[in-house]
Structure formats: structure tokens, C-alpha cells
């Protein structure tokens, strides 16, 4: 891994974090939605670096393509441009939120690191080899092998959600 | 012979059963059935009496175990049976004869009455009971027939059950005799307690052997207790003072009933009881005096009462009580033989008197002497018979009354001379004799002599048909002395061919009773007493008759003036010494019924309302307290309280549910935070 790539990964992580901040605190809901889009992209890049290229692809397609568009649509449908101000976040709560985040994040981070250290480490060379190998075949085999039941269950779930969403959103 | 006695008793019972069930449907409503039954009994009794006359002694017993209880400690057994001795034979003869004649008489007298067959049923049952009593060899069956007679007298007195006085009289009769019967029953219990049996033979033997001297009943010497109880029974049944009140009222019944039951037989049963139990009375030494006094007092007081009566049957009723008093006095003074003879002769002439009065009543349809008079010409036969019977009862020579009354008075006089302390007994006896003559002739003069006081009734008066007159004649003939001793009745004159069957009979019975030989001291007293008594009784009888004819026949002394002269005594006599008032108004109305009402109220209020339902009130009270407690404490505080708390709790918690999704998220995150913090802290 060349340092250049590491720099790109760091930038992607910073993009993620900054856009996440925008999503939570931006008064205008529309801008928050767009910021979310960029957060997804940042995450996709991180996946690529973690050797999960197929997942990154799926992430981009589903989240960036689907969910964000959906949200934008929702925002557009529920806010009369000229009537409802898009201002959203309540002012007086900003301070406790920030405090909360600042306090909890290092605690959770420390516990996650502890968790990570306790679990079994892989030798560095196998890490590189794992990052490089093609995952898609493995995923395919696993999907129709060990994970057959969840795979089927997920299909039913998606069907249910689809029908539900259509049912709910259908005008009278 | 004992079997024939059984038949004598069973025939009338059979007649009774037939009459009760089939009487109505039989021809002539079955009076011939009863007549036939009593006739056969008479026929069966005659040979027994004949045997007594010829052989001078009759004895036969038959007994069987009626009720036995096997008990390991000693079998309790009741043996009953038939005893035929001299007295039984005489009594059988008398009872069957009188009953037969009265059956005959009542065929005429009761002609046309409704429940005619029932009358004959009851009369047959009565005859059976009397015969049963006469022949029974133990006190238990004696008592059973004794009370059966009480039942029959109740039924017959109340025969005209539509008349309130009749049914009141029947109840009064039954209750008064019942009081006496209870006394006799206790005597019977005493006998069983002391001797273990009630058979006369074994009792005579036990008393003679002095077995019962030591035993005591209720603190009294046994024999005295039994004696008093027997006396009580006799007082009840023979209408002695103070239980005499029922006999005059018993006249409400038809006259044949009065004749049969309340003259000849039933009332005599009391005296017969005393005679049967004489050994016991004698052995107890103290009881006989009381018996004598009861007899004497009854004789005198009843005779006095008879003077003021206006109802013909009431006069005869009181005269019966008085004559019974004589018999009881006879037994009391020890002359039980004389008493028994008087019983027999009295049965005959008193039955005759009653039947004569019956025929008089039947012809003039009233019982009140003041509406009669001058019937001599109208009813010659009745008059003749009644005159003979009256002469006999007054105790004039040539008549049976004289024979027996003289002996009784002689016995009383002898007793008086021996035990001078008791001089009152002969005095009352002789006084009663005089008064008897007086009121009997008063009756004769008022009914038969003088002028008719009520023309209408006098006009209707007529002699009764033969079926009623025949019995009168037979009974009248029996009232002569010739049958019982000599023709004149005076032993001295009749030495030549006087009839001695009675003395032999008495001797036989005395032997049986195993009486202790009477203390033969100064034999002279008896002879002197006998002759003195003879003179006194003749004098008194004559005076009585003379005095009565002065007042009623000649009218020299007007009864009205007499009445005013003795007015206090008269009112006393008229109200029958206020005995009735005492019994009915005071003892029964105020005492008994008042006490009953009080007790019933007590029972209803105190025990029922307070003691029993009181509990329900207490329970109700407790219930209300418990209810209150339960309601207040448990219900309000605990149950509602907790409900309230939960409500408050609920109210408090409710505020949490703000409905905003985010708040719920915060809460869950807070919980998650604490959970993590706790876990981390733990480790």
C-alpha cells in the first residue's frame, strides 16, 4: 500500500466524517440529504481499501443510487418549497449533542479497540493476500452455501417491504 | 270355670266389634246382638253362681304370660289371667243381671235415637270392661279394664254430642277419673317395684308373710304408699270427695247409662278394688282410717246435697255418691264383707230407681221434679217398683237395703266403740242414714203424690211398654231382704230359714285373703254394736220418713219456709259447696290454663325468640362488625389504597410517554448507557 493510497483513504475518512457532521447539524434538510450522499461515497472508498470491492460496488448502487434519491424525492414531496421552511434542528439542543458525541465517541472507541485486541489477529502477509483476492466468488458461494437461509429470508423481506411501501404510499 | 269367664268377657267384646262395623246395616240396628251377647254371659254366669250356692265355695284360676322381657339379670314378666272366687261369682251374677236388664230397658228407652247402634256398641264394650275387671286376677288387667270403663263412660256421657253440656260433662268425667286412675297406676308401679308382680294371690301371700314390711317407696312404708294410691284410684272412680264432681254432671248421658254405669257397676268398681286390695290396706295399718273417714264424709255431705236437688236424676246421683260413701266407710272400718253386700244390694235397688226415673222422664219428657206430681195413678207399675226400691234404700226391714246397711252401720259402730277416737265415723254414718230416708221419700212424694203441677205433662204421662217395665219389676223383686238373709232381714227373727250362702262365701274369701285373724277381744262389743245399730237405724229411718212426709206429703211445713230458715246452708248446698267453682274457675281456668298460656308465651318468647333467635341477632351484630372491618380496613385501605397507589404510579409514569419518538430513543439509549456503564464498571 503506497502512501498515496493511504492519503486517499484518509481523505475519504475525513469526507465521511465531515459529511456526517453536516447531515446531523445542517439546518436545511435538503443539504443534509446531499451531505449523506457524500458520506456514502466516503464509506464506499473505505470498503474498497478494506478489500471488499463487491460490497463497495453494492454500497454505491444501493445507498448512493437508491436510498439517497429516495430521500430527496421524499423531501421534495413533503415540503412545499414556498411554504415550509426547511429549517430543522432545534437550537437549544446543539450543546448537549456535541457534548454527548465528544464524551461517548472515545469511550466507545476505546472499548472497540479493546475488543479488537482481544480477538485473534491475522498475520500481516495474510492481510495483504486477503485484501487482494477476489471476493465476489467467495460471496457467491457463501450466499448459496452457508448463508442460504438468510439469503432466502432477505428476498421475502424485500418483497414485503416493496409491497408495503407501495401500499402505504398509494394515494386513497 | 275360668274358661267360661273368658267367654263371658269376650262375648260383649265380640258384640262391640260387630256393632261398630256392621251395626248400622243389621236389622233393628243390631240391638239384639248386644242383648244376645249379655244374655249369653248371664247364662254362663248363672252356673258359676249356682256352684257357689250349692257348694258354698268356688275357686279357679287361669293365668298366662302376656309380656316377658328376657334379661340376664332376671326376667321381667307380666303374668295376667282370670281369678274366680266367691266374690267374683257374686259380682259376675250382679253385673250380668243388671247389664242384661238395662240392655232390655234401653231397647225401649233409646228407641228412635240416631247412632242407636253405636249406643249398644258402647254399652257392650262397657259390660265387657266391667266383666273383665271383675274376673281379672291381677291389678294390671284390672287397671286396663278400669280405664276402658272410663273410656266407655266418656263416650256414653257424651252420647248426645250435640249438647255442649253433655260433652263438657264427659270431658269432666274422664279427666276426674283419669286423675284417680293415675293414682291407681302409681300404686300398680309400687306393687311391681315391691312384689315384682301384681297378681292378687301372690300379693296376699307376700303381705301375709310380712315380706313388704321393710321396703319403702318415696320415703313412705311401701304398703302405705300403695294403699293411698289405691284409695286415690277408688276416690276418682267411685266419685268420693273431693273427686265426686263428675257424677252429678254425668247425668247428662241417657238414663240407662246412668243406671248401668253411674249406679250399678262402674262406680262400684272403686269399692271392688278396695275389697280386692283389702289385705294390703289392712297390712298398712294407717290407710284404713283414711278410707273410713273418706267414706263417712262423702256419705254425709252427699246426702245433704241430695236434699236440695230438683232434678230427679241428680238426686239419685248424689244418693249414689252417699251410698258409695257407705261402702267405702264399710271397708275402712274393716267390715268389707258388709260393704260388698251393700255393693250388691245397692246395685239392684239403685238400678231400679234409675230405671224408674228413666221411665218417668221418658213419659213426662222432663227431669225437673217441680214439673211432676200425682203420677201415682198414671204410672202404677213404675210407682210400685220405685216405692219398693225407695223403701229398700231407706233401710226398712223386709228390704235388702236394710240387711246390708245395717251391717255396715254395725261395723262402723263397733269400730267407733273400739277406737273411741274416731267417734265421728258412726255419727256421720247414722246421720246420713236418716237424711237418705228423708230425701228419698221427698223424691217419691214430689213425683208420685200430690197434685200434678204441670197439667200438660201430667196429661201425657202414661205407663211405659212392657220391655221397660219388666226390668223394673225384676229389680224391684231383688230389693227384698229374703234373697240375702232372712225374710225380715233381722237375724234374730229369721233364725229358722235364713239364707246363709253369703256368710259361707265371705268366709271362703277371707280364707283366701289369708287375713290375720281379727283380734278377738271383747266379743261382746260386736253383739252390742249390732243390736244398737239395729235400733238406731230403724229410729232414724222412721224419723226421716215421718219428717219428709210432714214437709212434702202433708205440707204442714212448707219447703219455702224451711229453705229461708236454713238459707245460708241452703245456698251452700245449692252451690255444691262451691267445689265446682273451685275446680273449674280457679284451678282450671285461672291456674292451669293461665299457667299454660304463660308457659307457652315463655317458650315462644324466652326460649325461641331470645335464646335461639337471639343467637341470630348476635351473629348479625358480629357480622355487621366484621362487615364494617372488612369494608373499611381491607377494602378501603388495602385494596383501594393499592389501586390508588398504582393509579398515582401510573399517573407519574404516564408523563413519560410523551408520544415523541425521539424521547423514547433517548430513554432507551440512557438505559443502554447505564447498562454498559454497569457492565464495564463491574469488570
Amino acid at each position: 500500500m503506497t502512501t498515496g493510497l493511504k492519503i486517499v483513504l484518509l481523505l475519504a475518512e475525513l469526507l465521511c466524517v465531515s459529511s456526517a457532521i453536516l447531515v446531523t447539524f445542517h439546518p436545511n434538510i435538503l443539504h443534509a440529504a446531499v451531505a449523506l450522499l457524500f458520506a456514502f461515497l466516503g464509506v464506499a472508498v473505505m470498503f474498497v481499501y478494506a478489500g471488499a470491492d463487491f460490497i463497495a460496488g453494492v454500497q454505491v448502487i444501493v445507498y448512493v443510487g437508491g436510498v439517497t434519491v429516495l430521500v430527496l424525492f421524499a423531501v421534495m414531496l413533503t415540503h412545499w418549497l414556498y411554504k415550509v421552511t426547511l429549517r430543522d434542528v432545534r437550537k437549544k439542543l446543539i450543546v448537549p449533542i456535541v457534548l454527548l458525541v465528544i464524551l461517548l465517541v472515545p469511550a466507545v472507541y476505546k472499548s472497540l479497540v479493546e475488543l479488537a485486541s482481544s480477538s485473534q489477529n491475522i498475520a500481516p502477509e495474510r492481510v495483504a493476500e486477503f485484501a487482494g483476492s477476489a471476493k465476489t466468488a467467495l460471496i457467491g458461494q457463501a450466499l448459496l452455501g452457508n448463508y442460504l437461509l438468510p439469503f432466502e429470508a432477505i428476498t421475502i423481506l424485500l418483497l414485503g417491504a416493496l409491497v408495503g411501501a407501495v401500499g402505504l404510499a398509494r394515494p386513497k | 270355670m275360668a274358661q267360661t269367664c273368658l267367654w263371658i268377657v269376650c262375648l260383649p267384646i265380640l258384640a262391640f266389634v260387630i256393632q261398630v262395623f256392621f251395626g248400622k246395616r243389621l236389622p233393628r240396628q243390631g240391638d239384639w246382638v248386644s242383648l244376645a251377647a249379655i244374655g249369653f254371659s248371664l247364662l254362663l254366669a248363672i252356673p258359676i253362681f249356682g256352684r257357689l250356692l250349692s257348694e258354698g265355695h268356688v275357686f279357679d284360676t287361669l293365668s298366662f304370660s302376656w309380656l316377658s322381657l328376657p334379661q340376664t339379670a332376671g326376667a321381667f314378666q307380666i303374668i295376667i289371667g282370670v281369678l274366680v272366687n266367691n266374690f267374683t261369682a257374686i259380682m259376675l251374677m250382679m253385673v250380668t243381671l243388671c247389664a242384661g236388664l238395662i240392655h232390655l230397658f234401653s231397647v225401649g228407652y233409646m228407641h228412635g235415637e240416631d247412632r242407636y247402634h253405636l249406643f249398644f256398641a258402647y254399652i257392650s264394650l262397657f259390660s265387657a270392661a266391667m266383666l273383665g275387671l271383675v274376673v281379672s286376677d291381677n291389678l294390671l288387667t284390672f287397671f286396663i279394664f278400669w280405664e276402658l270403663m272410663g273410656l266407655c263412660s266418656y263416650l256414653l256421657i257424651g252420647f248426645y254430642y250435640k249438647k255442649p253440656e253433655a260433652i263438657a260433662a264427659s270431658l269432666k268425667a274422664f279427666m276426674t277419673t283419669r286423675i284417680g286412675d293415675v293414682g291407681l297406676f302409681l300404686g300398680l308401679c309400687g306393687l311391681y317395684a315391691v312384689f315384682g308382680t301384681s297378681q292378687f294371690e301372690s300379693i296376699y301371700a307376700a303381705v301375709a308373710s310380712g315380706a313388704a314390711e321393710s321396703k319403702t317407696l318415696l320415703g313412705m312404708p311401701a304398703l302405705t304408699f300403695i294403699g293411698f294410691m289405691v284409695l286415690m284410684g277408688a276416690i276418682g272412680k267411685s266419685a268420693q270427695f273431693p273427686l265426686h264432681v263428675w257424677l252429678p254432671d254425668a247425668m247428662e248421658g241417657p238414663t240407662p247409662v246412668s243406671a248401668l254405669i253411674h249406679a250399678a257397676t262402674m262406680v262400684a268398681a272403686g269399692v271392688f278394688l278396695l275389697i280386692r286390695m283389702f289385705p294390703v290396706l289392712e297390712a298398712s295399718h294407717t290407710v284404713l282410717v283414711y278410707v273410713a273417714y273418706v267414706g263417712a264424709v262423702t256419705a254425709f255431705l252427699a246426702a245433704l246435697l241430695a236434699i236440695v236437688q230438683v232434678d230427679i236424676k241428680k238426686v239419685l246421683a248424689y244418693s249414689t255418691i252417699s251410698q258409695l260413701g257407705y261402702m267405702v266407710m264399710g271397708v275402712g272400718v274393716g267390715a268389707f264383707a258388709a260393704a260388698f253386700l251393700h255393693l250388691i244390694t245397692h246395685a239392684c235397688f239403685k238400678a231400679c230407681l234409675f230405671l224408674c226415673s228413666g221411665s218417668v222422664i221418658h213419659s213426662v219428657h222432663t227431669q225437673d221434679m217441680r214439673e211432676m206430681g200425682g203420677l201415682k195413678s198414671k204410672m202404677p207399675w213404675t210407682f210400685a217398683c220405685m216405692l219398693i226400691a225407695t223403701l229398700s234404700i231407706s233401710g226398712l226391714p223386709f228390704f235388702s237395703g236394710f240387711v246390708s246397711k245395717d251391717r255396715v252401720l254395725a261395723g262402723a259402730l263397733a269400730y267407733g266403740m273400739e277406737h273411741t277416737g274416731h267417734w265421728l265415723i258412726p255419727l256421720l254414718g247414722f246421720a246420713a242414714a236418716g237424711i237418705t230416708a228423708f230425701y228419698m221419700f221427698r223424691l217419691i212424694y214430689m213425683t208420685f203424690f200430690g197434685s200434678a203441677r204441670d197439667e200438660h205433662k201430667h196429661h201425657h204421662a202414661h205407663e211405659q211398654p212392657i220391655v221397660m217395665v219388666l226390668p223394673l219389676v225384676v229389680l224391684a223383686t231383688l230389693s227384698f231382704a229374703v234373697w240375702f238373709s232372712g225374710p225380715t232381714g233381722v237375724d234374730a227373727f229369721d233364725q229358722v230359714f235364713s239364707v246363709h250362702w253369703y256368710e259361707h262365701a265371705v268366709a271362703g274369701v277371707e280364707k283366701e285373703m289369708a287375713l290375720p285373724a281379727p283380734v278377738e277381744h271383747h266379743e261382746g262389743i260386736h253383739h252390742v254394736a249390732h243390736s244398737l245399730a239395729l235400733i238406731f237405724s230403724l229410729v232414724l229411718a222412721g224419723a226421716g220418713i215421718f219428717f219428709s212426709s210432714l214437709v212434702y206429703l202433708k205440707g204442714w211445713i212448707s219447703p219455702v219456709k224451711l229453705k229461708s230458715f236454713f238459707s245460708p246452708i241452703h245456698t251452700l248446698l245449692w252451690n255444691k259447696y262451691y267445689f265446682d267453682h273451685l275446680y273449674i274457675n280457679i284451678i282450671i281456668q285461672k291456674g292451669l290454663l293461665g299457667w299454660n298460656r304463660f308457659l307457652a308465651a315463655f317458650d315462644d318468647w324466652v326460649i325461641d325468640r331470645i335464646l335461639v333467635d337471639g343467637w341470630s341477632r348476635i351473629v348479625l351484630f358480629i357480622k355487621s362488625i366484621v362487615g364494617l372491618f372488612d369494608d373499611l380496613v381491607i377494602d378501603r385501605m388495602l385494596v383501594d389504597g393499592s389501586a390508588g397507589m398504582t393509579a398515582m404510579g401510573g399517573w407519574a409514569v404516564r408523563r413519560i410517554q410523551t408520544g415523541k419518538v425521539q424521547h423514547y430513543l433517548i430513554a432507551s439509549l440512557a438505559a443502554l448507557g447505564f447498562g454498559l456503564f454497569y457492565l464495564i464498571g463491574m469488570r
Partner: protein, 501 residues
């Protein structure tokens, strides 16, 4: 045989419950049949009963609850055979007498047959537990019979009867448990308890007091049975129960239920606790005399005919007690015979009261406003007057009828015991009062001028005469020759009395 007698009425009840409601006559006939069969079996029992032996006969013994060795142990001995026969006879007569009951006929006859089974069971049971069960089983139908088919305030009477007897049976339950606990081979068998009499020497500590066990048992049992007899202070339920009960029920109540108290005393108090009984003998005699006199006095003051007869029952049961208190052969035999004779004579009286009640629907001798209830009925109803006369004279103890025999035996027996003599004298007052109130009632109702109210009263129907016929025959026959019934019981009683000699 005995089980059949006891349980045929129960089977009858079962059948009746299945029958259609509207067919009243069918119900009545089934009920009649299911009382006739025990009657016929009763005759068989009477014939085959061995007069000599004092032991229980026709015994049927089946272990029922082995854990507490409770057995279905039934049998009949001298004491109870007369009562069984009486019960069977009276129930047969009562079914005939209750032919006119028209409302809820099915319920009535079902309850009645259950009652009969209960009663027969009480007399046959020789196991205390079984005895208690039948005792309670008999109580329930009685409550319904009085409570539903009774007179004006029937509910009050039914409740009072039920609670009163229940109070008694609660005490009996205590003794039941006590006897079970204190008897050596823990058991309820009455015959075995009577032979071993284990309670004489033991003592029990109650609330700190050291009490002799048998006396405690005796008193508790006595109160339980005294309520049933009834004895003086516990008697107030009887007039109410009688006045309100329908005719047939009050016949059975007076004819049989009262005898259970005295039978129970003989079977339990006398047989198992003889020393305690001897200790309480005086007490019994006093209560007996109170019963006699008190009952007679109250009877005389009554205005209601049925109440008068109820109080007369109290007075007559006083004789039974007096006989029992004498411990003599004559006394106790007289007592048990009086239980039988009183059963027949009172049954007649109640049936006759029922006859007049069916016609005029009131029982006032003297109406509350003082006017005459009846008067001079003899003219209108001769047969009724005749039979009533027989019943009245039977119950007042006229010699020649059955009442006298038992009263005479009781008094003969009691008089031979020196310390009871004073009680006999007072008791004899009862005989006079007995005659008084009965004849006074007879006079006021039957004799005298005809009361125009009762002018058109029909005489007794053939059914009523049929119901009364057996009782009349019994009263007369036993009055003349009492041995057939007496020697049924004398063997057992003599064996019982060996404890007291």
C-alpha cells in the same frame, strides 16, 4: 338385603329425575313402587330377624376408605330393627298421603326418597363415619321439603331446622374425630367401640383443664342428639318445623326423625360410654320429666292443631328419655317400644291433621280472633271422627291401645329404681295433662254444635283411609299383644343393660 332396603329409594329417586316433568302420576307411581319394595323387604327382614341373638344381623361389611379404616358397615340389631320397619312403613304411607301434592311433584318425590334413604341409612349404619354421613344426608332433603312445599313462613322454619340440627351434628363431628383418635386401633366401628369401651379411663386436657374423656364425649354427643329428640331447651325448632312442613313431611319428621336422637343416644352414649351415662342418669331423668310436663303444658295452650301435636310429641319423647334413664329391662324396653308406638300414633295424628288441612286450609282450633276454628265435625265426618278418636286415645295412653303399653313399661321400670320414683310421680302428671289437652282439642273440634263453616266438609276419601288403615291396625294389635315388636328388641337391650347392672 339391608343395602337393598336402604338404597332402593335412592334408585327410585334416580328414575324419577329422569321422568318427564308434566306426567305427575307417573312420578307418583314410581315413588310409590320405590317405597313398596323396601316395605316388602322390611316384612322379610321382620320374618328372618333372629329374636334370640343380641348381635347385629344382616351385616354387610366392605372396606370403604382403608386409610382411616372406615368401612361401609351396615347391620341391624334389636335397637334399630323396629325403627327400620317403622321408617319403611311410614314412608310408604306418606307417599300415599302426599298424592295431592301438585306443585313440583318430581322434586318433591325425589327429595322424599332421598330422605328415606338417609333415614334408613342412619338406622342401619354401624360405622360412626357412615352414620354421620347418612345423618347429614337426611338433613338436606328435609330442608328443601320444608323450605319449598311448606306453609306460610316456611323459609324461616326450614332455616331454623337446618341450622339447629347442623349445630348438633357439628358437635357430633367433634366426637367422631375424638373417638377415631382416642380409640386404639383407630377406627369408627361402633360395635367394636361398644365392646371395648376404650374411653372410660382416658382424660383430655381442654383449655388447661384435665377432663375425663368419656364425660366430654358424652356431653357433646348428648347435646347433638338432644337437639334431635328434642329435649327441653333445644326444642323450639320442632313446632316451627312441624307447622310449616307439608303433612307427609311432618309425619316422617315426627315419626322417624325424632327417634334418631334417642336411637343415637342408645347406640353411642349408652353403649360406648356406660360410666358417663350412669354419671348423667339423674340429669337425664330431670330433663325427661321437664320434657313431659313442659310439652304437656305448652300443648294445652296452643291454638294451632299441628303445634299442639308437635308439643305432644315433645311430651311423649319425654317418656322415652325417662325409660332410658331407668337402666332397667322394663324401662329401656318400654322406651324403645314407645319410640315405635309414638311413631305410629303421631303419624296418625299428623295424617289426620293433614286431612282436615287439605279441606279448609287452616288448622286453627281457636282462630286468632277468638272464634271457633271448627266445631261439631262429628256430624259431618263420622269416619274421620272415629279414626281421630282412635288416634287421640292411642296417644294419650288408653289401655288396650299401644300407647299405654310403652308408657306402662316406662313407668314400671322407672318406679322400681328408688331415686327415680319422685320423677315418675311428676311424670304421671304428664299422663293427666296428656289426656287433658288431647280430649279438650277433640271436644272443641269434633263435638258440640256444628260450626256452619264446616257444614259441607266431605268425609275421608278412600286414599286417606288406606293411608291410615295400617297404622290403626298396628295401634290396636300392639295394644292388645305387644310381644311381636317387644321380643325384636329385648335381646339386644338386655345385652346393653349388662353394662349398667
Amino acid at each position: 338385603m339391608l343395602s337393598w332396603i336402604t338404597f332402593i329409594p335412592l334408585i327410585g329417586m334416580g328414575i324419577i329425575l329422569l321422568l318427564p316433568r308434566n306426567n305427575a302420576n307417573l312420578v307418583r307411581w314410581t315413588s310409590l313402587i320405590s317405597t313398596t319394595i323396601p316395605l316388602l323387604l322390611g316384612f322379610g327382614l321382620f320374618a328372618k330377624f333372629d329374636r334370640g341373638s343380641a348381635a347385629a344381623q344382616f351385616v354387610e361389611r366392605v372396606p370403604w376408605i382403608p386409610a382411616f379404616n372406615i368401612e361401609y358397615f351396615i347391620g341391624v340389631d334389636g335397637l334399630s330393627v323396629a325403627m327400620v320397619l317403622l321408617t319403611v312403613l311410614l314412608c310408604f304411607i306418606c307417599v300415599i298421603a302426599s298424592w295431592r301434592i301438585s306443585d313440583a311433584v318430581k322434586g318433591y318425590h325425589a327429595m322424599f326418597l332421598l330422605l328415606e334413604t338417609g333415614m334408613l341409612g342412619v338406622f342401619c349404619a354401624l360405622d360412626f363415619f357412615l352414620f354421620f354421613i347418612f345423618w347429614e344426608a337426611m338433613l338436606l332433603p328435609m330442608y328443601f321439603l320444608i323450605g319449598i312445599w311448606g306453609g306460610r313462613d316456611k323459609v324461616y322454619a326450614a332455616i331454623k331446622f337446618f341450622l339447629y340440627t347442623l349445630f348438633g351434628s357439628v358437635l357430633m363431628l367433634l366426637v367422631l374425630l375424638g373417638m377415631y383418635y382416642y380409640s386404639q386401633p383407630h377406627g369408627f366401628d361402633l360395635i367394636q367401640l361398644a365392646s371395648t369401651r376404650p374411653f372410660a379411663s382416658q382424660t383430655i386436657t381442654l383449655l388447661g383443664w384435665q377432663l375425663p374423656l368419656d364425660k366430654v364425649f358424652w356431653v357433646l354427643l348428648f347435646v347433638g342428639f338432644a337437639i334431635k329428640v328434642p329435649i327441653w331447651p333445644f326444642h323450639t325448632w320442632l313446632p316451627w318445623a312441624h307447622v310449616e312442613a307439608p303433612t307427609a313431611v311432618s309425619v316422617v319428621l315426627a315419626g322417624v326423625l325424632l327417634k334418631m336422637g334417642t336411637y343415637g343416644m342408645l347406640r353411642m352414649n349408652f353403649a360406648i360410654l356406660p360410666e358417663a351415662t350412669k354419671w348423667a342418669c339423674n340429669f337425664l331423668a330431670i330433663l325427661a320429666v321437664i320434657n313431659i310436663i313442659y310439652g304437656a303444658f305448652c300443648a294445652m295452650a296452643q291454638k294451632d292443631l299441628k303445634k299442639l301435636v308437635a308439643y305432644s310429641s315433645i311430651s311423649h319423647m319425654g317418656y322415652v328419655l325417662l325409660g332410658m334413664a331407668s337402666f332397667t329391662a322394663a324401662g329401656v324396653n318400654g322406651a324403645v317400644l314407645q319410640m315405635f308406638n309414638h311413631g305410629t300414633s303421631t303419624a296418625m295424628l299428623f295424617l289426620l291433621v293433614g286431612v282436615i288441612y287439605d279441606r279448609v286450609h287452616h288448622r286453627w282450633i281457636v282462630k286468632p280472633d277468638g272464634s271457633r276454628g271448627f266445631g261439631g265435625i262429628a256430624a259431618v265426618m263420622p269416619v274421620y271422627t272415629g279414626i281421630m278418636g282412635l288416634a287421640v286415645f292411642a296417644s294419650l295412653g288408653l289401655p288396650g291401645l299401644s300407647g299405654f303399653i310403652s308408657e306402662a313399661l316406662v313407668f314400671l321400670g322407672a318406679f322400681s329404681v328408688p331415686k327415680l320414683q319422685i320423677y315418675v310421680v311428676i311424670g304421671s302428671l304428664g299422663i293427666i295433662l296428656g289426656a287433658a289437652y288431647l280430649l279438650w282439642m277433640f271436644m272443641r273440634i269434633f263435638l258440640g254444635p256444628l260450626n256452619d263453616e264446616c257444614k259441607a266438609l266431605p268425609d275421608m276419601s278412600w286414599r286417606e283411609r288406606l293411608a291410615l288403615l295400617p297404622l290403626c291396625v298396628l295401634v290396636i294389635v300392639l295394644g292388645v299383644y305387644p310381644m311381636p315388636v317387644l321380643d325384636l328388641m329385648s335381646a339386644s337391650i338386655s345385652q346393653l343393660l349388662t353394662l349398667f347392672s
